[in-house]
């Protein structure tokens, strides 16, 4: 068999350049916004819309090709490997913020309170500072605040995400067993749980900002808390949108027991945000 018919090489990719323009407008606009430019918000909005347009176009094209039976086992393997390594890169991104949290708790706060070689730092710069977690630092940046406890909303959210991991697997079983109804119901439940999680996170943030005086500016505790849970919440939102698309496609009759890479990719991504959450629950909320 000749090679060029063994592997699908697409032609005339017009979406990447659209994506580059959208990304540049979005990020350039954001940068200008941070510098106080007044027109920048518009550029951001346009950039965001261009990116959304690009995703509809690009993914739409790939879905059409997939439904037309363009892809064989070989392309499927490429997609799977690509998604797996993309998720690995995301793992590394979260690892940085977890790493920062550990460094702050294990090294920087003890040193500021005079441990190890930090005696002079403590004596001359931050006299009397004690290392107690959570901390907003020796200058009490952001003022008095309260800690976000683990056993209220966060515990409920843990249950929600773990349950959603079960429902998405149940949906997968349905897909593999060619039970369309089980697939759709499982996905619908997963999407619902996902958005409930995001909603509860928003509620928790509002509680933090309005009642606990816990903000992004509350020293290292506020910084690590909001950056870690914030990036996670963003990823949950993205994952829930991906699953929504899968739900829509399932209802349109896409996917077969043999060919459903997109569903699995979304499910892998969902399990990934699930696992990150467990890390957050243990190290950010609990310990």
């Amino acid at each position: 068999m000749s090679l060029e018919h063994a592997y699908y090489i697409p032609h005339d990719a017009k979406w990447p350049i659209v994506g580059s323009i959208g990304l540049t407008l979005l990020l350039g606009g954001f940068a200008a916004q941070l510098n106080g430019s007044s027109a920048a918000g518009m550029a951001m909005l346009v950039g965001f819309l261009v990116l959304v347009y690009m995703m509809f176009g690009w993914f739409g094209e790939v879905i059409d090709e997939s439904e037309a039976g363009t892809y064989t086992k070989l392309e499927d393997v490429s997609f799977r490997m690509g998604m797996a390594w993309f998720i690995f890169s995301e793992v590394m991104f979260f690892a940085v913020f977890f790493g920062a949290l550990y460094y702050i708790r294990i090294f920087s706060l003890p040193w500021l309170s005079g441990e190890g070689a930090g005696v002079a730092t403590q004596e001359f710069l931050w006299k009397g500072f004690e290392n107690v977690w959570p901390s907003n630092g020796p200058a009490s940046v952001g003022g008095e605040y309260e800690k976000m406890g683990p056993w209220g909303l966060p515990a409920i959210n843990t249950l929600i995400l773990l349950t959603s991991g079960v429902t998405v697997t149940w949906a997968h079983w349905g897909l593999v067993a060619n039970k369309r109804k089980q697939l759709i119901m499982g996905l619908a439940a997963t999407v619902l749980l996902g958005f409930i999680f995001v909603g509860l996170q928003a509620l928790e943030y509002s509680h933090g900002y309005n009642e606990l005086n816990l903000t992004l500016g509350s020293g290292v505790y506020g910084s690590t808390f909001y950056m870690l849970t914030g990036f996670h919440g963003f990823h949950v939102t993205v994952g829930a949108i991906m699953l929504t698309v899968m739900l829509y496609r399932s209802m349109k009759g896409h996917f077969t027991p043999e060919n459903h890479f997109a569903f699995e990719a979304a499910a892998w991504y969902w399990h990934f945000v699930d696992v990150v959450w467990l890390g957050l629950f243990i190290f950010v909320y609990w310990l």
């Binding site: 090679l3 060029e4 018919h5 592997y7 699908y8 090489i9 697409p10 032609h11 005339d12 990719a13 017009k14 979406w15 990447p16 994506g19 580059s20 990020l27 350039g28 954001f30 940068a31 941070l34 510098n35 059409d64 039976g69 363009t70 070989l74 393997v77 490429s78 997609f79 690509g82 390594w85 993309f86 690995f88 890169s89 995301e90 590394m92 991104f93 940085v96 790493g99 920062a100 460094y103 702050i104 920087s108 706060l109 040193w111 190890g116 070689a117 710069l125 907003n136 630092g137 020796p138 200058a139 940046v141 992004l216 500016g217 020293g219 290292v220 506020g222 910084s223 690590t224 950056m227």
Partner: protein, 526 residues
Amino acid sequence: MATVIDTHDDHHDHGPASGLMRWVTTTNHKDIGTLYLLFSLIMFMVGGAMAMVIRLELFQPGLQFVDPSFFNQMTTVHALVMIFGAVMPAFVGLANWMLPIMVGGPDMALPRMNNWSFWILPFAFAMLLGTFFMDGGAPAGGWTIYPPLVLQGGDGFPFMIFAIHMMGISSVMGAINVIVTILNMRAPGMTLMKMPLFVWTWFITAYLLIAVMPVLAGAVTMLLTDKFFATTFFNAAGGGDPVLFQHIFWFFGHPEVYILILPAFGIVSQIIPTFARKPLFGYSSMVYATSSIAFLSFIVWAHHMFTVGMPLQGELFFMYATMLIAVPTGVKVFNWISTMWKGSMTFETPMLFAIGFVIMFTIGGFSGLMLAIAPADFQYHDTYFVVAHFHYVLVTGAIYAIMASVYYWIPKWTGHMYSEKMGQWHFWISTVSVNVLFFPQHFLGLAGMPRRIPDYSVQFAEFNMWSSIGGFVFGLSQVFFCYIVYKTIKGGEKATDQVWEGAEGLEWTLSSPPPYHSFTEAPEVK
């Protein structure tokens, strides 16, 4: 074009689309490789122009041409442009051109994403270079963008951060494509341990990229929120630590320096056997050495921070771990020399650059070993000794390997032989001038001249003058290189398929230049 069920009938032609849009919408690995390589050459000239400004200012003590703030912008952006704009895209361009051919596949595994990986870069660099025209100018805190200094920059700061984000997205997508291509697109019979070494080194480099580019993204994101959103990751008042940034940055930064050199190892391992007319000595040990270097690169980062104030155990661990890297690197150097041993050698331009690489990269490696000695590093740290060290490994290392690869493969790419006479001139002028440029910087550093300063004490004047003269000649000789490349693209003696007498590998079984779609039938792998 290559669809099983082709829904686009107008795409049955097998040639490239015409006009400018060919380059914008291409999914062909050779077109994208060419784009990467040309982009890299342009950035090499842009970064080189900044280096010329630096050497001009340092030609004599005292302030002559630029103000100190602009000088700092030059050193900062020179480094960012050369690393992210010249060397990395050159390697990705070479990977695009050669990997699918070397493994006997039809193209890169994810061709649309391949296009996007490239087309993010011009936008990212437009954003980075645009900062020169903003209030406060370009970032001037050094390419390592340490807080709190970098947070005191002007309007360019957030643009630089987002430019780095975009470069990171491009690199991660490129790396994913390389891994998937190597794992999934190999011709039947091309087992992993039969792959050419350039493929192996890129395979390992791609893993490094996926692992550390997100780390850089995290680091610059924290810088951004520290400046604009009141977080205190790097501010002791809030319980953070500026040193935390250095740890995160170098956790990215040290694997990054191997990202900049492992593909170079691969290139040299292709070229030396060709011109020694002997198979590579110790193929499997080369693979294992490359993997060991990649592994070690993750546990040595703090040797960039010996003077920052670390516990003694940390200094010792990072010192010994760093020295350990000399073992696999030594294996490689000895393998290259053993390959040449009793070989029937000829010295065409690619071979000259490859041998130049082996010798001068080793000099850079040895000065690296000196820097690895923690107590000695207290004297070398942030001096011109460091500048000399990393320019030996990056210019006479990475850049020399890229030059070698261009001379080696350009007959294959264009179908034309370059002018051997001009190539030899380019090599010798470059090699003499680059040593005049960087060797005296060792002495300057040992004598105590700090890096990143526009002015210096008069006792450093003579070496600096030598260094600047070497710099100007080296810079001009690269303009000459551009001319050689241009001439070769335009015309020249017709290249044969084999090109080099001793060349082995699938790329030499194709015509020069290769057809738009490399292998229409799976090649036979011996």
